[in-house]
Subunit: 437 residues, 2 copies
């Protein structure tokens, strides 16, 4: 229940000194221990569960065990990530869906605990119902374009695609009707809060995770580079922060330091350039994902024509200082490298706000982690908080600056027109092309 | 603050007997008066302000003054509605925008009162900032198609349209950053709740009101018929309910009766058929709205070719009972009449859930009306709660079943392609058309 808890100055201070990652709790524990305050194991458990009482953590040695666990699971997660990339687009889509569902579950779980509705056990299902409806809406909107051939064969699928918006609206409205009918005056405020948080979770998790799926259709590089940029930024920020960290960066995440921030930003840009350079060599990463009818599944079109973004291009820079010193230099660079620099800067400067947002949420709901799924890291959402905003940014970036509209997609729209309109369209295009010749 | 208030059985009962419209309060007042309970004017005011203590209202004469005020303002509202229709699409868009902003203000106001954040006066602005961002996102998405010529002339507008998604994302993300930076541990739970309610308001009010604007581009009939259907349903439900109402319909809105519901549904279908029949005669209602370059403004294209939806069509029904009785009948009907019947049924059976949803919200936040803007009716949102869902339904209905895709809109997309892709597209279309001949 959202009540303002009156906190003493000390409480506020300790709160302001945060609990941003696993090591904090261990560090808290050690610090108090060092100060010869006797703490029982019960109190330690309490500390882990209720870390608002945590203390200042800078300059305190890490709990090595925790660090090792954290490190091992970082490697395991990265290995799994590359394995799904290797397995292809379908595996990536399934993994994304699984992560999305788990993240949604974590948020809804926390909110349901804060706004308990004990007498209406079925009410919890409304959130899940909205999750299904939102997924149908998101995935139906564009996936249909890519599975055209496959969908044409199955009648029910064709109906679900042709009337996609209508079915989505009906599903959503049925959810609203269900919600209205299950309103009970004893819990109505809680029920509305749950509905509001469900909506924000749908927007920030379902819609954003769906962007990941949209991005891979432009080529796996649009997944592999951004995801690893965020990972690289997280890891290097941690290392630089631990080694040189002194100056605190932001109130919401008190463990973050300027030293970690700058070190990570520089490392991330360098990593981005190197990784992009390597990946631009492989058509597996640069070719768009398509539905291959013969194989009956979506697959990389490895024989695609390379678009200009992934072709070496000559850039010439000329320098002219007061007509005294003159120099020109030429570089052969993949244009994608420039895009990757933009993505690096976003991932190290702007995307962390996704993490700060998650930290704020955890603090508001008085929890330490979103879950306990990944040992050493917390819940799935603790690991993926920045990835979601990154995915949306990449998607918006592609649609705004790469503009990879394919003739095939527009062609499908023309086929929906009436025959005489198709003819009218044909003549319009003919005239326009004549003018250009 | 959302606290569960323990209510006595009596309280719950009186709550269950509702406070659904203005007349309730007056009726409550009279009832108590009749029972010779002395109530001071202060208590009356308290009743008006806190109607949760209201009593059973059926079979109690209306407070005539209130009814007259309500009636007069119903007529004024309808007159203003037809006046904006007469003034044309631009006036409609401005009115829709004004209504949308006022409804958003009413919701945000109520939520801010329930989750007060006194020490951060600027925080309230974040909700308004998100409103601006959402409007830019919604209106930019399609209005651009219709104002192509106008936009081409102004450089800044061209930038805002070409990079529309990118600018929208940046605006939204700046809002999230602002939110994160203004988080204070004392208020964080309140701040997150405000953010969540802002999101639900954006979805249910901004996005849905934008559907109204999208609909008018298909012809003003798609605005005039649905809006008046809801109005007709509201008024006839009130009249039938008052006259014959006995059997309660739904717990959330205890003043609604089955008699009112059925009477209204029948009246609404009849009204829908008559209104559609009349409007189908006027190209002012059936022609799509377009941007007229010579006039420099959006206007009805009154000389448009009528689409099949608005052209009289012959329908034949044959009846054959056991080969003994045989009859055929032919009707000349506008196909739009069938659409209007679907809309009537939606407006009288499903759309009221929008109103129930609003009632539930008011009850949860312990308010009687969303505001005091329209005397006799309450706030703007009290009058428009069902209209928003109706607008979305109409929009989804049009895109799913009317499919009025114009060659012009798709043509713009083709012009975005690279020249060689345009040629490829041209050849694809040529082949496809050849096959059909």
């Amino acid at each position: 229940m959202p009540t303002i808890i009156k906190r003493s100055l000390k409480d506020n201070l300790s709160r302001a000194n945060g609990f941003d990652d696993k090591s904090t709790v261990c560090a808290n524990f050690e610090r108090t221990d060092n100060e010869n305050e006797k703490i029982s194991f019960e109190k330690y458990l309490q500390l882990v569960k209720n870390p608002t009482t945590g203390g200042i953590t800078t300059n305190i040695p890490d709990h090595w065990g925790s660090c090792v666990v954290r490190g091992i699971f970082t490697i395991l997660l990265l290995a799994y990530f590359w394995y799904t990339i290797y397995m292809g687009p379908f595996a990536i889509m399934l993994t994304t869906l699984a992560i999305q569902v788990k993240c949604f579950a974590e948020i809804i779980d926390i909110v349901h605990k804060s706004y308990p509705i004990n007498e209406l056990p079925l009410f919890r299902l409304t959130s899940w119902y909205f999750l299904v409806a939102a997924n149908y809406f998101c995935y139906g909107e564009t996936l249909a374009d890519y599975f055209n051939v496959f969908i044409g064969k199955i009648y029910v699928l064709r109906l679900l695609v042709n009337y996609h918006r209508f079915v989505s609206f009906c599903m959503y409205f049925v959810g609203i009707m269900w919600f209205v009918l299950s309103l009970r005056s004893k819990y109505d405020m809680h029920q509305f809060s749950l509905l509001a948080y469900t909506h924000i979770a749908l927007l920030l998790i379902v819609v954003q995770s769906y962007m990941i799926v949209k991005n891979i259709f432009q080529g796996l590089i649009w997944l592999a580079v951004p995801v690893t940029l965020v990972v690289c930024n997280d890891i290097t920020a941690y290392i630089f922060g631990k080694t040189f960290g002194k100056t605190p960066l932001i109130r919401v995440s008190p463990k973050k330091t300027w030293e970690g921030f700058i070190g990570a930003a520089v490392s991330t840009v360098i990593y981005g350039i190197v990784a992009s350079y390597i990946m631009c060599h492989y058509s597996y990463f640069t070719c768009p994902v398509e539905y291959v009818e013969e194989m009956g599944k979506i697959e990389m079109n490895n024989n695609c024509e390379t678009t200009s973004t992934f072709e070496l291009k000559n850039y010439t820079i000329s320098l002219n200082i007061l007509e005294l010193f003159y120099a020109t230099a030429s570089f052969l660079i993949y244009p994608f490298i420039f895009h990757s620099i933009v993505l690096s800067v976003f991932s190290s400067v702007i995307a962390p706000f996704g993490g700060f947002f998650a930290s704020g949420f955890k603090r508001a709901f008085k929890i330490k982690d979103f879950g306990e799924t990944i040992p050493g890291h917390g819940g799935i959402l603790d690991r993926f908080d920045c990835q979601f905003f990154m995915a949306t940014f990449v998607n918006v970036y592609i649609t705004s600056f790469i503009k990879n509209a394919t003739p095939e997609k527009i062609f499908n729209k023309v086929l929906y027109l009436e025959p005489d309109q198709q003819l009218q369209f044909f003549n319009m295009l003919k005239e326009s092309l004549k003018d250009k010749l």
